[in-house]
């Protein structure tokens, strides 16, 4: 026991400063880039309102006030109300929750992590695995996997989303599946190209000589060394996923009503733009645009700074 305590204590002493240092180095890259900082502030704003949504509004996103539909901003409803008299600020920040904080499996069951984040995460898992296997093994496995993914990439993205959602039906889980299917080929291609480069390095030869298993080499030796471009790509993909959610919602194939889905809010609200009530369409459009721009700025800033740093 005494020995293990010592080992544990010594590990803490040795490892913790290393992790902290790496974290500080990462953050210093972030802080060094003004572009990344602007992006971070925008993204953090949406994350904050999404996490604390229940404390930031007295209304629920589904509460209808049938005497006050399509009202402009007032002191009671700071962003106005939609066509069913629902508070737009509530719907906007609960909509951010769906994107960034929670994944609704059903009316009562939720998973932590937003729909867009889950979509990108699952796409990352699948795409990374396929890319690593294809890139490391090569041969017929690589050929078959990559030709199949090429075929998927040949289909226009919107069309692919529509096909998948029309086949599966509108729900949050199906949106995650659609984002995964559409995102996987691009991630697999990226990881494969990184793997092809890294597998020629000396330390991979050394690992092979040591007799490490292929899975160990792929996930412990290669993957950590490919993480930089993958993280930047993932950030951009979260932006694409938010756009995808907006597009699907706009086309009526996203999260089913009455979810405060930003895309469907725009679709419903645009009916009233020409009638003099642009608010219901304006705010979710601004939300989608700002969050995607924030994520892109963050990813661009990180990429530029990390390249300079290297």
């Amino acid at each position: 026991m005494a020995v293990s305590k010592e080992v544990s204590a010594s590990n803490e002493v040795v490892v913790s400063p290393g992790r902290l240092r790496r974290l500080w180095e990462g953050l210093s890259i972030l802080f060094a880039s003004k572009t990344a900082m602007v992006g971070l502030v925008i993204v953090l704003f949406w994350v904050f309102v999404a996490v604390f949504a229940p404390f930031l509004t007295p209304y629920t996103p589904l509460e209808q006030d049938w005497k006050a539909p399509n009202h402009g901003p007032t002191s009671k409803h700071i962003l106005g109300t939609d066509e069913l008299g629902r508070d737009l600020w509530s719907r906007l920040i609960y909509g951010a929750r769906l994107v960034l904080v929670v994944l609704p499996i059903s009316e009562d069951v939720w998973l932590p992590g937003g729909t867009a984040l889950w979509g990108v995460l699952v796409a990352l898992l699948v795409g990374t695995t396929l890319g690593l296997i294809g890139g490391y093994h090569g041969g017929w496995i690589d050929e078959i996997t990559m030709r199949l993914l090429d075929a998927m990439m040949a289909i226009p993205v919107i069309l692919l989303y529509l096909l998948i959602m029309a086949a599966l039906g509108a729900s949050a889980v199906n949106v995650v599946i659609a984002i995964t299917i559409v995102g996987t080929p691009g991630i697999a291609r990226l990881v494969r190209s990184l793997t092809l480069d890294i597998r020629t390095r000396e330390y991979i030869r050394a690992a092979e000589t040591r007799g490490e298993s292929p899975w160990y080499i792929m996930f412990v030796e290669i993957l950590p060394n490919a993480r930089g471009p993958i993280i930047v790509d993932a950030m951009l993909r979260v932006g694409y996923a938010i756009f995808a959610m907006g597009t699907l919602g706009f086309l009526g194939l996203g999260l089913p009503p009455p979810s405060p889905d930003w895309g469907s809010m725009v679709a419903k609200g645009r009916e009233f733009i020409l009638a003099g009530s642009p608010w219901a369409a304006l705010w979710p459009s601004v939300a989608i645009a700002s969050l995607v721009v924030g994520l892109n700025l963050l990813a661009d800033g990180l990429r530029e700074e990390s390249m300079r740093y290297q």
């Binding site: 539909p69 066509e83 069913l84 029309a166 194939l253 089913p256 009503p257 009916e271 020409l274 009638a275």
Partner: protein, 550 residues
């Protein structure tokens, strides 16, 4: 004026009812005209001056009306399933009758009709001297040919279900060059209305070979010059049209009409009519609420509203659980807060409904109270039906019909206190139409029909083999209801007919398969240079006498 002997005996009963105040003048006109009396004679009998359009020198001839409307792929007019193509082609081919904006039906290509006392033999007399635009004369052969097309199973017309219920091909008799007799299998008074149903265009028996666009030979005021699917439809005035204007010259007043397919998006169409690039938006197959909202205060736009029998039907399949239990159906119906639904889903532009498919504008309508929103009673009914913890149900709706989605959203919220947890399943409109008769719970749009009997015969009865008819989407068949409807189909006296409808409506409200929260208004939307256009509950474009102000 007709001789006394030629007037249907029932008209005297109707006159009696009118004098006793049992009938309104409009109802008297409707029934007298249906029984073969001319509108002018019926108006005189009712003590009304027949409204004649006084020709004023201000009417200008010339100009082309530009309208936005879908230019769909069409071949056989009897196969039309949308009003829009009929609005384009009704300017080229015409109908035997026409039902005006007040729901009164008049002879059109017919000179008149007579009906036997048992309402089973109809004698149709054609106007003489009418020519198709290819020079062929319009005769009884064309009427017989056209009706046989309706009743031909291979053609697959929706008229087969409507007219085929009482008429078979052997019942159509050519009794003269300008006369046709219809021998019906059973009594029916809606024959003239059916002859104006939008797929019932009269075809030229000599030239029609299945594709009207290839040989667009009709009796109408315009000829078809261009018909490009998805693009445009161009119509040009013909000079030998049979109807004369009040100045004695042939109609129409305009030189032509042009329909431009601007897609389904309303924003560009609203912008185009505001800018004067088009003169009207054909809303016959579109929602129109966004157009109404955007243009209602525009001084350059005329909006002609019509109250209708159009509705959004909350329909439940009675052959599927849990809707096979009337208590569950009633529970859902009780969850409709009708005033709120009308206000939010349709901006108050219509009338509240009563869960029976008879609109207050139908002549047979029997007034019923509007059912109250009652979630407590709904909860109790669900408990009695074996769902003490409530019930999860899916409702299928098209995301393309925004008022339907709003209806579903309001219903979802208002049904929650009763324990009905509704999941809204949205899908594209095309997908909804693929499964509209199959889903257990959904909201289906139903168009206006001039008589209450027409829609009840179409959707709430069984065929001769006992199977629900094709458009009976809820599979609801009720023996007592069917017998009463059969009786109503052959009952002329309006009081008696209304008495039957009181029972029919009550049965649908008590144990039927539908919820009707509201009846929709529709709008004919034109720029104000379009003169003398009239609103119509089905938004049929009856534009022979429309002219354009320069």
């Amino acid at each position: 004026m007709k001789n006394k002997e030629e007037i249907h005996l029932a008209i005297y009963e109707l006159k009696d009812d009118l004098e006793k105040g049992k009938l309104t003048r409009r109802e008297f006109l409707r029934y007298a005209v249906l029984l073969g009396m001319s509108a002018a004679a019926a108006s005189q009998m009712a003590g009304l001056a027949f409204p004649r359009r006084v020709f004023a020198a201000r009417i200008k001839r010339g100009g082309t009306l530009r309208a936005s409307g879908a230019v769909q792929k069409v071949t056989h007019p009897a196969q039309f399933s949308w009003v829009v193509p009929s609005n384009e082609l009704r300017q080229v081919a015409e109908y035997l009758t026409y039902t005006d904006g007040n729901n009164v039906t008049h002879p059109y290509l017919l000179k008149d009709w007579k009906v036997s006392d048992d309402l089973k033999t109809w004698t149709l007399t054609l106007r003489q001297g009418i020519k198709f635009n290819n020079g062929d004369e319009f005769t009884a052969d064309d009427v017989v040919f056209t009706m046989n097309q309706w009743l031909n199973k291979d053609v697959g017309s929706s008229l087969l279900g409507m007219v085929g219920a009482y008429l078979s091909p052997t019942g159509i008799e050519k009794s003269g060059k300008y006369q046709v007799k219809l021998h019906l299998n059973k009594a029916e008074i809606a024959v003239p209305e059916h002859m104006f149903h939008y797929p019932a265009m009269v075809l030229n028996h000599k030239t029609f070979e299945g594709d009207f666009i290839k040989r667009p030979h009709g009796t109408g005021p315009y000829t078809l010059e261009v018909y490009r699917e998805g693009e445009r439809c161009v119509l040009k005035r013909r000079n030998d049209y049979w109807q004369k204007a009040d100045d004695g010259k042939p109609l129409p007043y305009m030189d032509g009409m042009e329909f431009i397919d601007m897609g389904r998006e309303m924003a560009p169409q609203i912008a185009a009519i505001k800018a004067g690039e088009i003169d009207m938006i054909d809303l016959s197959d579109a929602g129109g609420t966004d157009v109404y909202q955007a243009l209602k205060d525009d001084a350059n736009i005329n909006i002609l509203p019509s109250t209708t029998g159009q509705t959004r039907l909350l329909r439940m399949r009675v052959d599927m659980k849990p809707w096979s239990d009337n208590r569950v159906r009633m529970a859902l119906k009780l969850c409709q807060h009708r005033e709120k639904i009308l206000a939010l889903a349709y901006f108050g532009q219509g009338m509240q409904g009563q869960d029976c498919h008879v609109s207050p504008i139908h002549p047979e309508y029997c007034q019923k109270p509007i059912p109250k929103y009652d979630p407590k009673r709904a909860k109790q009914l669900l408990k009695e039906a074996g769902y003490p913890r409530g019930l999860d149900v899916n409702i299928a709706v098209s995301s393309g019909w925004t008022d339907v989605v709003r209806y579903a959203e309001v219903l979802k919220q208002d049904a929650a206190p009763a324990g009905l947890r509704i999941n809204i399943k949205t899908m594209p409109t095309s997908q909804y139409w693929e499964k509209w008769t199959e889903v257990d719970l959904g909201i289906t749009p139903w168009t206006h029909r001039p008589l209450g009997t027409m829609v009840l015969n179409l959707a709430y009865i069984a065929d001769a083999q006992g199977k629900p008819v094709a458009w009976n989407e809820t599979r609801w068949v009720d023996k007592e209801f069917s017998q009463l409807l059969e009786q109503a189909n052959g009952t002329l006296n309006v009081d008696e007919r209304r008495k039957i409808f009181c029972k029919l409506e009550q049965i649908q409200m008590d144990r039927g398969s539908i919820g009707i929260a509201w009846w929709r208004n529709v709008w004919m939307v034109t720029r104000n240079r379009v003169q003398d256009a009239e609103g119509h509950p089905t938004l049929y474009m009856l534009f022979n006498k429309v002219w354009l102000r320069t």
